[in-house]
Symmetry: D2
Subunit: 459 residues, 4 copies
């Protein structure tokens, strides 16, 4: 039988090479690897561990290599399994004995840890920028439609009228916390591991503080065995990314609901949908659906690294090579989602009348009546019960409470007076909810102003 013979024509060492290599995915670290190497070599020169002249020469060649990689002329050699060995071997080829000095006083373990931290730090900065961009888009739309009324939902059932802008600003709050979590993650990872060697440090008189300062790390790691086997910063980043996906999947779900034929609150720009030349009613919210679907991939990446790290003995184990693909995939996914969502949000169109109509059911204002009674000194649970019986009466008669006259109303709730009728107006209902954080126009305007200032500063 020969099903797998094809595969077994591959020699074991080819299989092992294929199994072990990381150059197919860690190429993207080239700039951070070179940046880290330059700082390291520069320090070696200053500390006279290698001649300063050699350091300059190496730095010069590293810059050349970076240019070549960026212009596509650098020859990657598949004999070298990762980006680090490709770069070091290019140096060796070009500079001989001088190139042979670059790896002085470091090991692959502390080098990779340094590269990855530099890389995530940059990506966090980019994602933070994209979060600000999306928040700006949301705030912009909130401002544009600041007068639009919609039903607020709980359990996907109409609950109380709210401002559409209030709903959008809820997502701004979420994305803001996401940004803060990334900032905390960045702060915590911003320590230089270089100098930790393979696990035990080095006997050569290096100056780690100088390298840290050059690479803009806040400080240096304090335990070499921890430094080479710590992957907390990757897991913490992936956790923060997973929470971003909680938020983006919720926003996507809202949008998918809003654009359904049943709901029709919102229309998306054609750019962000696929249509069907046969079924014009179909405008599939693909971006929202794919975003919701990609939540799984980001969660999966988090689980992948958590599982990989479970129960590993100190220090470095080869398992840890498996940290990179989930990290890279998560970063690419999050950046693409935030990038495409921002223009999609900016270009939504809102059907104000459908929304307002859905929010105008007088029963949605029952809570307002109960709170009005409380303001007339009726204990809350009693008020709740009285309004409940009014509602029951209307339901039984299949009438709307705003069609009762005052006498009928007073028969059911003696505390009622003329003022009560205005309570059935959704605009007034919204305006009355005027505590901090609530949905009144005044509060929402304050929030819009707050965010405009805040986002402007961070832009």
């Amino acid at each position: 039988m020969t099903l797998w013979d094809g595969r077994f024509n591959q020699k074991p060492d080819e299989l092992v090479a294929k199994f072990s290599e990381s150059i197919s995915f860690d190429q993207r670290l080239y700039a951070h690897d070179i940046r880290g190497s330059i700082a390291h070599v520069s320090m070696l020169g200053r500390c006279r561990i290698i001649p300063e002249e050699d350091a300059k020469c190496i730095i010069n060649e590293l810059n050349n290599i970076r240019c070549e990689i960026e212009s596509g002329t650098f020859q990657f050699d598949e004999r070298y399994e990762d980006i680090h060995m490709n770069i070091e071997n290019a140096l060796l080829d070009r500079l001989g004995d001088t190139g042979a000095k670059i790896h002085t006083a470091r090991s692959r373990n502390d080098q990779v840890a340094t590269d990855t931290r530099l890389y995530i730090r940059d990506e966090i900065d980019q994602i933070s920028g994209l979060l600000i961009h999306l928040k700006s888009s949301l705030v912009g739309v909130a401002e544009k439609y600041s007068h639009v009324i919609m039903p607020g939902f709980t359990h996907l059932q109409h609950a109380q009228p709210v401002l559409f802008s209030h709903h959008l600003l809820a997502y701004v709050e979420m994305l803001h916390r996401d940004g803060c979590r990334l900032t905390d993650c960045r702060k915590r990872l911003n320590q230089l591991p270089l100098g930790s060697g393979a696990l035990a440090g080095t006997s050569l008189p290096i100056n780690r503080e100088v390298v840290a300062s050059e690479l803009k790390f806040d400080s240096i790691t304090q335990n070499s065995m921890d430094a080479v086997s710590d992957r907390d910063y990757i897991i913490e980043f992936l956790s923060a990314a997973s929470i971003i996906m909680v938020h983006m999947s919720r926003l996507s779900e809202d949008i998918i609901y809003w654009v359904s034929q049943e709901c029709s609150f919102v229309e998306l720009s054609d750019t962000f949908c696929t249509g069907s030349s046969l079924m014009p009613q179909k405008k599939n919210p693909d971006v929202a659906e794919l975003t919701r679907g990609k939540t799984g991939r980001v969660y999966g990446n988090l689980l992948s690294v958590l599982t990989m790290m479970k129960g590993l003995p100190l220090c470095y184990n080869r398992d840890m090579q498996e940290d990179k693909e989930p990290l890279f995939d998560t970063i690419d996914t999050i950046k693409l989602i935030l990038s495409v969502y921002s223009p999609m949000i900016k270009n939504i169109r809102v059907d104000e009348s459908i929304m307002k109509n859905a929010a105008s059911d007088p029963f949605l204002m029952a809570t307002d009546l109960a709170e009005w009674l409380v303001s007339k000194n009726v204990p809350f649970r009693t008020a709740h019960k009285k309004v409940g019986s009014l509602v029951g009466y209307c339901q039984a008669k299949d009438i709307s409470p705003d069609t009762l006259n005052l006498r009928q109303l007073k028969d059911l709730i003696p505390e009622c007076n003329e003022d009560c009728f205005s309570l059935f107006d959704p605009e007034k209902s919204i305006a009355s909810r005027n505590v901090t954080g609530a949905t009144s126009g005044e509060q929402v305007r304050k929030q819009i102003e707050f965010w405009k200032t805040e986002l402007d500063v961070n832009y």
Copy 2:
């Protein structure tokens, strides 16, 4: 501020295209897509839904396209977002009106479901073959070292002597169950969804049974709405793959322990390790470590699809496009692991004397003495207690129980006699455990013979 401007220089529609495309990863389905299309078109011809001549013409061109893809001459067009549209559009370009008939009575939804089932079916066959190969390697090594004694562990503590081959055959059992699970998964997915249309079937008089038979499906799906939105077979496959990884990670852990300096039971061939030119004592078991690490990626892929499918309304949603990458990555990972493990296992070398020595501690035979007492009618818990006090006595005196003379032994356990001394021999201990499934040479030989026959048949 411009951190993300680079990205935003991309126009929204470019971003959306990048976000939505699947051609970068679904190309690998080309052969199954073409195979499915040929069966479909052939049926359309036979049923006179399109002229038979047209059918032949399309089939001919599909075969050409397959050859071109395989020889690398087919021009993929990035305007078409997936493999299906690339192939259909090539047909349209080449055959005009005739080519325009291929998509008759089908939709992308049932087409993709068909392709994916065909693809997984083939991959299951390949993985089943690789499982047999690895089982054969394990059985081969078990036979080669069938006399080797080692300590059996519980809690990573020495418990009782066992045969090394018995330990290896435990993994054969696990891999056998893995194969059975894949067979069940294959059986369940082997139904043709084609003919389900976008969700509601078709009004054209197709013959689904003919297509099923042509494509070697056991039967056809019975509900079109289920058929286009079912992804059970992917999740079931990913679950089976995750259990394979449970087993491969356990085997890897065993190997990593066995090759540690502390243990030194086993040596791996250099091919499967990285060494260090500086530290000759180091022979890093990279293949075992990477396998253990890749467990995370396979679990993550399972979670990814489970999460994606959670709470999706019927029928097809675009989220489901996210089923492919976790599937493909899992298949590639499992195949590579099994492929590389098989020669690695075949080439292990065992240090019999270290293993036997570790298994020869007389205290490991305490259970044998207790069972011997039971055979002399001592109730088990009493026997257990008596042996316990013997052990306690020896420990207190820091002597080994096999160094006691008969009188001393009888003082502690009156039921003892001369026979007892042979109980401290690990070979005899092993030989005595001779019930089915136990570790005696007789039982293990039976198992080796069983597996040799079994695997031979399936080869």
Copy 3:
């Protein structure tokens, strides 16, 4: 500072006891533990490993203990950390030397594995029954509303008209596969591990086949080291349960959408909802929401055991004690969900007119027109394009295609004739989709009949 002093007043050994005990959750295994023990002791007697009289005496007392546990009079003793030791120690107290014989030729490792398999086997039977019950409820409702038309959705957008019963039967297919997966899992786990000892079998002349037969196991396990450390059957069960939750969460999502004010296709019985005395429009579909939410818990339980098993060396490790709570919680969750869903489904009320109205948009019948053209020998992509331009024309004029007269229709699509007008009728559209598995009344009736017979047989 004393934040944690309270805790540290607990002595270490109390903490360890609390950490290690399982009696708080493994009590539920009592019946299976006793059943397994009776079969084991009976065999010991028959094989003369212990006197037959002793065996009878032990069996008698085990039956007493079962009755006491069931009547609540059995005294659990917290000094014994699990259910197995509680029962064995009760025997010892009551029967002295005779009771001391029960643990002959077995260990806790093979005993627990046997108990758990017996337990899951019973629970699978119960869950299979509940699946049949729920399928029956779905088929019943499908039959009751077999004439009701609704829009079929893709991307949560209206796509084509389908029968409501066809939609319900899609779930019957899913639940049927769930039952089959459980059956496969049951088949695979139905092997007796008892006789494997702690890891190496036993030297006593037990008869494992007799025990297997008594306990209705299909066969006995063939490798003792595998048998005591295998947890595949738990993971396979948890995977099958997770797929059940995929289906139940999708059904829940459909229901939550259907009962929204926007959709209003379906109304649930009050029993299965919470309402609000203030907001009568609110009838929160709590059962559907909680079911969707509990998906997370079932997935989490699966990942919990997968993570726990990753990288464990052979054989038994104490980590494995962590297999029980996720298993028990999953079983309880699945059983409760299926139990409550069945009456909820039986009692849904459907608003036929809203549903039919939503399905009657003539644009939903565009695919029918395209297929009609194919039947008139227009190549499919050409037919697709022609209908597309008709649709575009109608949209531009903001008219519905069914309001065109024949001349107008022929101007746009020359192949059209009088018959075309009937294509815009959703009833006819549905009736025309009459291939196996499609949505026509004929096909759906067949399916209903099939399931009624099938479910009847299995009841």
Copy 4:
């Protein structure tokens, strides 16, 4: 057939009640619920929304209820499904109209969010304390054994000698980051959601700042729709807990390895192990194994809540009730693990001679020789190669490099001199690695002093 009849004897409404209730697990929130209610009612009184006298009366009775719950005399009423309704209804029973005022200007949604935040905040404080306690234990043991040398491992292979205390301090670093993550999580969740109502705020003139200040929240939430449906703080906490488990599972793995017969570096106190009266060599590290196993449960809880929150529309959905059990289980698990680990660590015994012996293989000092050559101006890669050939020479002759005489050494590496021989001493190797974070005694002593001061301050 009657398999499930038992269950179906339960009436649907009983099933729904059982399905929906949370009182069985949310009782533990009683103190935080009462604390939140007291602050709320006190504010209602101060703001004259209810009479101050009523407020006092309610507060008094809430204090009574707390005392009754704590003394076990409070009657929970199973008609009320959660802790909040149990307390409110007790108030109603006891205070009538006055009690009916407590729920004024709040809803269950903002109340539960407030309770949960108060609860997590307290638990974070407790866990932070336990982390400090465990770090203190680790530092204490590090100080006690500060002179002990062991082999440092990578790939579970001996790499270079390190101080045992350096290894322990690596875990102190990890646990320190864990504490910082909890602090960040606490800071982010420390905002008052009360006042957000069901989703839209309230029309009553409450003062949220006063309540926030009373409950020691740093600020108030700014968007009511976000505030009632935000569960970020739970996910962030569960992520931080999962990273704690990464660390505790790694420490457990190290310990399990150290106490194996093969390794025997460390012995645990009997209190933390189970032994076997038969096999005295067995001292099972149950606490370490269970901790490693419980990693799965904590990861599972995280994924459970992530899955539950995926794709939920705004605002509150009943699914969210599923947030509590994973949270509570995680908190209980983490606290128990940290509590039991601290005394276990304090009581480990170390076998210095075995450890030192394992670290004394001269090949482990090969890196030292290479670095010494670098200090003599040999380029690193050249030095690496020279030492490599020395190692190869020794291996081929099966001799140890420290047994060569100077001439032999110089033949292989001309740069060598007398000083080289001292490089093979593990003590000197360790002492020479004296950069910050490395393993020299000087550096490790600095770290021990640092942590002693740091932990003292936080105690």
